[in-house]
Amino acid sequence: MKIRINVVKLMVAAGALALAGSAAAQSKGQLTVSVGANQLKPDVESGAITAPALPNSIGDVGKDTQPIAVITYGLTDNISVETAVGTPYKHKIFGAGAIAAGGELGSVKALPAIALLQYRFFEPNARFRPYVGLGVTYAMFQKETGSFRMTALTNPGAGVATTFKIDDKWTVSGQIGAQFNVNEKWFLNASYIKTKLRTDVHFSTNQTQHMKLDPDSFILSVGYKF
């Protein structure tokens, strides 16, 4: 909760700074690419699966780490836009609450597409440049995969395997990060992105489940300025 409030404050600050945006020494138009890893960890608050189910049949979603390439383009010396490409994140889905005994019930691949507008503090040639960002994310879910247990807990013995679909969502993300310039061309980058994500799971048994996923993303990367 504390983190969330801080993120909101920072996002407001970022917006204010972006608007203030007084043109300092510009070297706009610089493209940087950094490569590293991103851990995507949902901060799950699960709703209960709708009837028929044991009361408080909720779920949990595991974390995953995948390689990532972060691409940043300087609009001005202080304002930049950023996106990232990477491989899909495979998240295991677990039973929780009344159905915790179910254990691992399935998995899903998540492919978030993100675009951020950033404000970078200090001069472009400063060794250490913290930044904040605000942007949009398109959370896409694919290859939702069920299991024997998922079928056993939802529609046993009918000869029909239970499948599920998670709604894709447009949403917002806030970011704080820092860039450490090793030399003229190379830098280290670390950032934390919080994404607000509420979605719905639709089971083939006509049951649904509302999920607050609000993923935390931790990125560490090594970059090069082109």
């Binding site: 028929p52 069920g146 079928t151 056993a152 939802t154 046993p156 395997a161």
Partner: protein, 456 residues
């Protein structure tokens, strides 16, 4: 150029997200354990057709639920109990009754002929029988419990669980293979039978007190040396007549006194009757409260006996996967809800005592899964919504009209004798037995616990 690069990067992201073959999929549908067989011991809750012969079969019945696959009407009306659902989910053949037959009354009407020779079915391994108790061979529906002059008697064989297990061991060479799923479900008939005996005892005590009170009130004002004996004889004769009630017995006693010249008997009939009725009620209640502890104790014994049976005759004989369902909360069933608050409380205590002894006797054992159906069934009655239950108090089958249901039981409940309206999500088919929907909920709960045990 640089702007082009950025656009290219965005395009790459877009292309990556648009890869094909991304639809939802079932995943691995194979359980962790490859069971070779399902073996079930128990009562009506797991019976898959021990009595599906003769008149029961002719009426389309055979299981203690809404019988028949009526999924064309409603997807929940599968006609299956939880053993069938679990077997199907595990990829095992549909369970069938190890023994079939009835010892009931003969009739030329095929729908009412309940005399069918008992047959052992060598390739069937569900030994559960409606009416079966843990060790006592006489349970509800047994011919020995029927009135001597009853015209329609089901004659359920009610082979107790202890004998069911012995029968399986005899058939399987004295041991379990170790790869079968064993399901044990018992205790309900011990509750019903004990409760029946308690109620019969209380009624008898009440009857005695009624007559004693009538004689005590009427004899002193009756001008006859043999007044007391004559009044008592009249009341007892009426009490012995089939169809008599407290009112008719009171009337008989007052009539006898009046005939002997009692001047005030008829005039004071209302007061005399009320006093006698109160004495009868008090005596019945006293009997119930004096003997309530006995029936609770009897259920504790039954629970302990079942635990010993599971450990010594099932697990010790080689079974590795034994599901032991505890006794659901019978006190919330429609047949018990129709009784007094004291009786409901007593039944709840009987159930709890049975389960406490069963659980304690089973202890912690990797080969035994104790499934707490009592807690779930109780929760369903107070919180039906999440379970998808629309009614937990009424019966889906017509059970109080012998023209529509000659056995007043779900054993012969089909689409032909359901109450009107949508009963697909009712909890109970009859006074104590679940609908197919409730059976499916039970199956899901057992499968959940089997997951927790790492069996599937």
């Amino acid at each position: 150029m640089r702007k082009t690069s950025f656009a290219l990067a965005l395009l790459t992201a877009a292309v990556l997200t648009a890869c094909g073959g991304t639809d939802p999929r079932p995943g691995n549908q194979t359980p962790q354990t490859k069971f070779t067989q399902q073996v079930a011991f128990g009562d009506s809750l797991s019976d898959v057709g021990s009595y599906a012969v003769g008149g029961v079969l002719a009426q389309g019945g055979g299981q203690y639920t809404i019988n028949g696959d009526i999924t064309s009407v409603n997807a929940e009306l599968t006609g299956r109990n939880f053993t069938a659902v679990i077997a199907a989910q595990l990829g095992l053949p549909a369970p069938c009754a190890a023994q079939t037959g009835l010892n009931g009354t003969t009739s030329t009407n095929p729908a009412l002929n309940f005399s069918v020779p008992v047959v052992m079915n060598a390739n069937c391994f569900n030994y559960s029988q409606g009416g079966a108790r843990v060790t006592n061979p006489v349970g509800p529906g047994n011919r020995l419990l029927a009135a001597a002059n009853a015209s329609v008697v089901l004659g359920a064989t009610t082979v107790p669980v202890v004998t069911q297990v012995a029968n399986h061991l005899a058939k399987a060479g004295g041991k379990f293979s170790g790869t079968e799923l064993v399901i044990v479900t018992a205790g309900g008939n011990d509750v019903l039978e004990q409760l029946g005996e308690l109620s019969a005892g209380a009624t008898a005590e009440g009857g005695k007190a009624l007559i004693t009170s009538l004689v005590t009130q009427l004899a002193p004002t009756t001008p006859s040396a043999t007044g007391a004996a004559t009044i008592a004889a009249a009341a007892q004769a009426e009490a012995a007549r089939s169809g008599s009630t407290a009112q008719t017995i009171i009337a008989a006693a007052i009539g006898a006194a009046a005939q002997l010249g009692n001047p005030s008997a008829v005039a004071n009939a209302a007061t005399i009757g009320a006093t006698a009725g109160a004495a009868a009620t008090a005596a019945g209640l006293k009997y119930s409260s004096d003997h309530g502890a006995d029936v609770v104790k009897a259920l504790g014994t039954a629970g302990a006996e079942l635990a010993v049976l599971v450990k010594n005759q099932i697990v010790a004989k080689g079974a590795n996967y034994v599901v032991v369902n505890n006794l659901p909360d019978v006190s919330i069933a429609p047949s018990v809800l129709a009784q007094s608050a004291d009786t409901q409380k007593l039944v709840a205590t009987m159930v709890a005592t049975f389960n406490t002894q069963l659980k304690a006797g089973l202890g912690d054992d990797a080969k035994i899964l104790y499934v707490d159906l009592a807690t779930v069934s109780h929760d369903q009655s107070v919180n039906p919504g999440p379970y998808g239950l629309t009614n937990t108090k009424d019966t889906a089958c017509v059970v109080n009209d012998v023209t529509k249901n000659p056995l007043s039981s779900s054993l012969v409940c089909t689409k032909n004798n359901l109450i009107s309206g949508d009963v697909s999500h009712y909890m109970f088919a009859d006074g104590v037995h679940p609908t197919p929907f409730e059976y499916a909920l039970i199956a899901r709960y057992i499968l959940l616990q089997m997951s927790g045990k790492g069996w599937i």
